[in-house]
């Protein structure tokens, strides 16, 4: 049984068909790309998979369990985490808190312990903090731990978002345009980094990206959507030469640049 199985996923916003009959299977350790012109429905697919929106039709199965109808935090707890196209950190909170809070569903102590602060509370909180620092250190952000998230430069905020997603202990990580707003040097680092976390955390990664360099170089398979419909699926080589893809991207510079 594949780890993630998406069947006939369809979503309408009123009369607008944003996603139509989307299908995908992913295994542990896969790195899959999702591309398509602006407004093609990519972010909406992520929103459907993570439970932010409820699909009009279709199923999302994680290890055979249907996620449709679950609330987002339940889905995240089962192992799907994401970042956002526009950064959505908790701005006023410290970087450390941003990471720690993402462990909410792993907390064992209850309400009473959270007030009385017994031994069990301290043991667990220490562990949460230690893991958070480990994660931040991986990203080279441990110096910034006590800084408010909003005070970090854009590139680092993107990293904090990824670290926060990893803190939920996902098996599948969804990245929504992680390279947006980065310069070429940062993009190279990012590509390296994505492959590294896949290895270190034994994750499946599914990535939406407009930077073709990223998609073509790190993804094993690529899904192309346009107007909500899948128009191509294959290896980077196949996608590059697919006439329908070229047509959909006609005039879009991102594709030429790749």
């Amino acid at each position: 049984m594949p780890m993630l199985q998406i069947k006939h996923l369809t979503h309408y916003f009123g009369g607008l068909r944003a996603v139509y009959d989307f299908n995908l299977e992913m295994e542990q350790g896969d790195l899959v790309g999702l591309i398509g012109p602006n407004g093609a429905g990519k972010t909406t697919i992520f929103n459907l998979v993570t439970g932010a929106y409820r699909p009009t039709e279709g199923e999302v199965l994680l290890d055979g369990e249907n996620l449709v109808g679950m609330r987002p935090h339940e889905i995240t707890t089962r192992g799907i985490a994401r970042t956002f196209q526009t950064i959505r950190l908790w701005n006023e909170l410290s970087v450390l808190d941003n990471i720690c809070i993402a462990r909410a569903s792993r907390i064992q102590y209850g309400l009473v312990d959270s007030i009385l602060h017994g031994k069990r509370y301290w043991d667990e909180e220490r562990q949460i903090k230690r893991r958070a620092f480990d994660l931040l250190a991986m990203f080279g952000l441990d110096k910034e731990a006590h800084e408010a998230a909003k005070n970090l430069p854009y590139g680092e905020q993107r990293k904090v978002e990824i670290a926060r997603a990893l803190a939920t202990e996902p098996r599948l990580l969804l990245l929504d345009e992680p390279a947006a707003g980065m310069n070429p040097g940062e993009i190279s680092d990012l590509m390296e980094f994505i492959q590294q976390i896949r290895r270190d955390f034994n994750l499946a990664i599914w990535i939406i990206e407009h930077q073709m360099r990223v998609i073509m170089n790190i993804c094993e398979r690529i899904k192309v959507v346009d107007f909500g419909e899948t128009i191509a699926y294959g290896t980077p080589e196949e996608i590059r030469n697919n006439p329908r893809v070229i047509e959909a991207y006609l005039g879009e510079e991102a594709f030429d640049a790749a």
Partner: protein
């Protein structure tokens, strides 16, 4: 050594306030002012959990205060006072002393259950929904009490004075002041500890970005209901303490939107999301009300003007969302800083 600063400070305050009242170092008037300060701290810190930390907008704190006030005073009067409606005392007066805090807690639990009833429909949608519902609930509570003739209806409920007198007759101590002090400490302790736990910080994540919080595995609905019940419960505690004050009398007119507004003002004044700010502002505002008493009705002309002007020039209140220990780091020696406990976790 540092560890003992805070308990020592609390002890000094406790002995000062309770001892001072006992020995009549300050007169009844000042005892009353101190009592109100304590009650206002409970109200302000608890409302701050919702309006400050969570960023939602509850307008009906006085309604939940009323629930706690009526439930606890009905219990004390029924159990410990000779009353026209409830008849002779059910229990001997000496039991009143140990049972008083239990009854206060029951009042708080009743208020928090009322909070649960409100929370379930209110938190389905975001925005100003909670404001509207709590507003309506404040009126419903007031109106419901007015329609309960058994407990005095619009005229109010009396008899708590006798209870307090009975307690004092068994052992003469400023019991209400003692329990107000303890209730105030408990409130600060609960909110501070809760908001410093990773679990409780989810509340701030909700304020910052609720959708992101839910998508990052925070069970936002449950957390909001817990926070709201906690806040309402503490409002009920404040109500119970208030009901047993020197007047020995409560009526529905005490628990109007005006009272709720007062608490909101104190929360705002101290700073949304600042516990020490709430404490300072509750003390300051109580004093301000007393200082401006000679102005008569002009008091409520001056205070709103002050606030509107302050809103324009210092919009985030006294402390903003910071704590006193952030502004004066030296105070950490007394009040401690949670982070110290993690100093070694970093390595």
């Amino acid at each position: 050594m540092k560890k003992y600063y805070l308990p020592l400070l609390i002890l000094v305050l406790f002995v000062g306030i309770v001892g001072g009242s006992w020995l009549h170092v300050f007169n009844e008037y000042w005892q009353l002012v101190i009592l109100f300060m304590g009650i206002n701290i409970v109200l302000t810190v608890s409302l701050n959990l919702i309006n400050g930390f969570m960023g939602e907008f509850s307008c009906g704190h006085a309604g939940f205060m009323a629930v706690g006030a009526y439930v606890s005073s009905i219990l004390t009067v029924w159990l410990f006072a000779d009353d026209k409606i409830f008849g002779p005392p059910v229990l001997p007066a000496s039991w009143a002393i140990p049972l008083f805090p239990v009854i206060l807690i029951i009042g708080a639990i009743a208020a928090s259950l009322a909070g649960l009833l409100v929370a379930i429909p209110s938190f389905r949608t975001r925005g100003d929904y909670l404001a509207i519902i709590t507003l309506a609930v404040n009126y419903i509570v007031k109106s419901a009490i007015e329609n309960m003739e058994v407990i005095g209806g619009p005229r109010g409920f009396v008899g708590m004075k006798r209870v307090m007198n009975n307690m004092a007759a068994v052992f003469d101590a400023p019991w209400l002041l003692i329990w107000t002090f303890i209730g105030m400490l408990a409130t600060i302790f609960i909110i501070r500890n809760f908001m410093s736990s990773t679990f409780g910080k989810g509340i701030e994540a909700i304020r910052e970005d609720e959708i992101a919080a839910e998508l990052m595995s925070v069970n936002t609905r449950r957390l909001k209901v817990i926070a709201f019940m906690l806040s309402c419960g503490l409002a009920g505690l404040a109500g119970g303490l208030f009901a047993h004050g020197p007047g020995g009398y409560i009526n529905p007119g005490t628990f109007t939107i005006l009272k709720s507004t007062e608490v909101m003002v104190m929360v705002y004044l101290g700073g949304m999301g600042s516990i020490s700010g709430s404490i300072i502002s509750a003390i300051g505002f109580t004093l301000l009300l007393e200082l401006l008493r000679p102005l008569g009705t002009y008091k409520w002309v001056v205070i709103p003007l002050l606030l509107v002007v302050m809103m324009l020039f210092r919009p985030s209140g006294i402390l903003g969302n910071k704590e006193l220990t952030d502004v004066f780091p030296k105070l950490r020696a007394i009040f401690g800083a949670e982070e110290e406990n993690y100093a070694h976790a970093a390595n």
